[in-house]
Symmetry: C2
Subunit: 467 residues, 2 copies
């Protein structure tokens, strides 16, 4: 096998034995498995050649990006195809507002390239410095700006992919209207590498807001947060980019992790909200004679009104980019905070916006029933109804972890939510899929998997639970 | 067969013989075929029972909505399942901004129901008074507001559908984040009833703009239109809802069709643009002391600047809702105008925005080469790069029509466009699919079709060209 891989990609780009160790797990540490080999193809044709070889040898393949996934999707005993060398940003068109990128491009590099054209690629999350195009498309990553711009799939106009049989499919359209058969783009996005390997994409860019108004808000009750979000949306005409919730325990954990980080307020509050408004119209963004940016003043006015009515307790508005970055760095440390505390299980759930407090109250009570003494770390994309309810059980016991997860799912389903909001399934959520996914939908997914990957070689054992 | 259908849906809702005549064709008149029967189930369970019966009898089925499709997708020798009785709007949630609707609800009824909650369902096109949910989802319809709100698929959070085997799949999520396996919703949307029958949907609603600024603009050159669009987008922070192009010939055809319709200007202009801005922020929408609506004044200012610089020749801004509706009725008469002129072929293409004039110039020249004396009717969702280039050939000759279409496709592909932008494939574009679709994509689509519909009973012969 190694010889044949070397013939395709060159000796420098084929790793075997202990050289593959760094690929045996991902950031989540959720799962460990020694790869059969790691190859680093430099072109789509090389990816296709590796897949055809795997077909000949009947060996499984797994596409690998930045290994920042949280569900073990890119780990396994297989030929790992790392896209890390395919890092070309082939084109950025300011007129068409599109970026044509290869699968190995790192998210923050797209941010920089777009910004240079006064545009943004709005997808963002903590792992932006390591996550790569192929990975965040394969998992349909979410993050903090979904509220305004949608999930990854809403930001993709076209893709190129290698199918499980080694065929290359070219759907690299940059058009906004293209109805020509089944939407294979949306089928591959979110399929976690089980239906093919995404090798390139045409991404949608948006105009860069001329000014941001960003604030931290301290308050007593989560139920008061939603009316505030709705009011800022109404006043700004729907320009809220992010609305993030951090409980006091999250703030404490963050400070504990790094003493240089200060808490946002002099005194602690149960509910801490990070809000960001991105303004586009010139009259919202152009500083007035006093240097004040209108949108910042507008947000301050709204918050002053809420302070006066005692609906919030405190608020700090970022006065410059450094203060804004500081507010965001706290929110983006979520994975770091959870990782630092060791054995855990992550519940990545979504519920209707007005049900988040209910969910948290019920989940906490249930947890103490199932595993008295277990602790949690909570952070939420509140504007999307997406809660990361991370549990630290009292002992490392897989049966206990699964029992906790099942009970949390019960609450989520009772509230008409989703057991898997933005991280995907991988292997971490296979039992949830088996328990909770609509049976006819599972049946259809299995039929599609068999149709496109008859030998079951493409990231086998992920997404679809065993029958 | 009839007896069994009656057992499922009741005698009143099963049509056979000449009673099925109205279903033998659709608005396009593109194709005629006598149905085996027409059934009108009242529930999803009845739809599933009819599909299971069709499986038993090995008879094809075709889902039918408002029959306003333009590609013959809902016509054929099959059991036609009309969703016209499933017209319940089950729920409109102002808080969640969602509408839960059955497949037979007419688009304009959703408009009205949303408006009553001060919300909008932004999808709109000429056939809004007849098109039904199941149909506009199955075809992923486009229309005039895609520029701001996206295609149909971007407005759908969840669906319920009957699969070709008669299983009901329930994906009626109202959540904005839900990553739990392959996105069957997006696979079914745009599959034109070949992979299942959509029976209900959760639609995304948007806040209703507090004020619209709508104008007709007369100008000499199409190339001057794009900078104007960009400028209004920049000034308003991206609030343009529609940017539609009508050449002088379209205006003439419209007046000829109905003398009560007046042309938009006292003198004719080669290029006529309908622009609409929808403002959300209160200070754009609240009339000032003189009764002037700020967003209307803002659009007038921009247009005055363009008039002064002689980049446009004339402009009329709607002063009230009646004037606005009048401007829209002209644009929405497109299908009526094309139909009135008889034998035709519709090219529904998309090209990059800055290539529309090039496309039109080259297409006109090519047409006169292939069929000297042929005439055209052109109308365009200019802001999406979507052109409806309808050709009236000199004679009703299918080979000639196909030759014209192939030559037009050559130009489209040369400009990196799409041969099928928003109407879909049906049977009308099967030869285009065979000629132009990526071969690996076609192969994958065929594999999916066989996997989900092994007996090939679900709207057979549509979308996928014969091998």
């Amino acid at each position: 096998m190694k010889e044949q891989l070397v013939a395709i990609c060159g000796a420098k780009h084929v790793l075997t034995g202990t050289d593959t160790d760094p690929f045996a797990t991902d950031i989540s540490g959720y799962r460990t498995a020694q790869p059969l080999a790691v190859v680093r193809p430099g072109t789509t044709e090389e990816v296709a050649a590796v897949v055809r070889l795997a077909n000949d040898l009947k060996l499984p393949v797994i596409p690998v990006g930045g290994r920042s996934g949280l569900c073990g999707g890119a780990v396994g005993e297989a030929i790992l195809i790392s896209l890390e060398r395919m890092t070309a940003i082939r084109d950025i068109s300011a007129d068409a507002r599109t970026a044509v990128v290869e699968a190995g491009v790192i998210l923050s590099d797209i941010h920089d390239a777009a910004e240079a054209q006064n545009l943004v690629f709005p997808l963002t999350f903590g792992a932006k410095g390591s996550a790569r195009v192929g990975g965040f498309l394969a998992t349909n990553a979410g993050g903090s700006n979904v509220l305004r711009y949608g999930n990854t799939r809403d930001l993709v106009l076209g893709i190129e992919a290698v199918l499980p049989t080694g065929e290359i499919v070219d759907l690299m359209s940059g058009l906004h209207k293209n109805n020509s058969g089944y939407d294979l783009r949306h089928l591959l996005i979110g399929s976690e590498g089980t239906l093919g390997i995404i090798t390139a994409a045409v991404l949608k860019l948006h105009p860069k807001p001329g000014a941001y108004a960003t604030a931290m808000i301290g308050m007593q009750r989560l139920t008061d947060a939603l009316p505030l979000l709705n009011e800022v949306q109404r006043e700004t005409g729907g320009q809220v980019e992010a609305f993030e919730y951090m409980p006091q325990s999250y703030i404490d954990d963050h400070v504990a992790l790094n003493a240089a980080h200060k808490p946002p307020f002099d005194q602690p509050y149960p509910v801490n909200i990070l809000i960001e408004v991105g303004a586009l119209a010139p009259r919202d963004c152009t500083p007035d004679d006093t240097g004040e940016i209108p949108i910042v003043g507008h947000l301050e006015e709204i918050l002053a009104r809420y302070l006066e009515n005692e609906m919030i307790d405190d608020a700090v508005v970022a006065r410059n980019e450094a203060q804004r970055k500081d507010m965001w760095s706290r929110r983006e440390a979520a994975a770091e905070i959870a990782t630092a505390r060791g054995v855990r299980l992550t519940n990545d759930v979504a519920v209707p916006l007005d049900k988040i407090e209910t969910f948290l109250t019920r989940a906490d009570a249930t947890l103490q029933e199932v595993d008295p003494g277990a602790t949690t770390s909570v952070v939420s994309h509140l504007g999307d109804g997406n809660v990361h309810y991370t549990v630290f059980p009292t002992r490392a016991d897989d049966a206990l972890k699964d029992r906790i997860m099942e009970r949390v799912e019960d609450i989520v389903l009772d509230l008409r939510g989703s057991f898997s909001a933005e991280h995907g399934i991988g292997t971490a959520k296979l039992s949830s899929m088996a328990r909770r996914k609509d049976p006819a939908a599972l049946m259809a997914m299995r039929a599609i998997k068999v149709a496109l990957d008859p030998l079951n070689l493409m990231n086998p054992g992920k997404v679809l639970p065993p029958e």
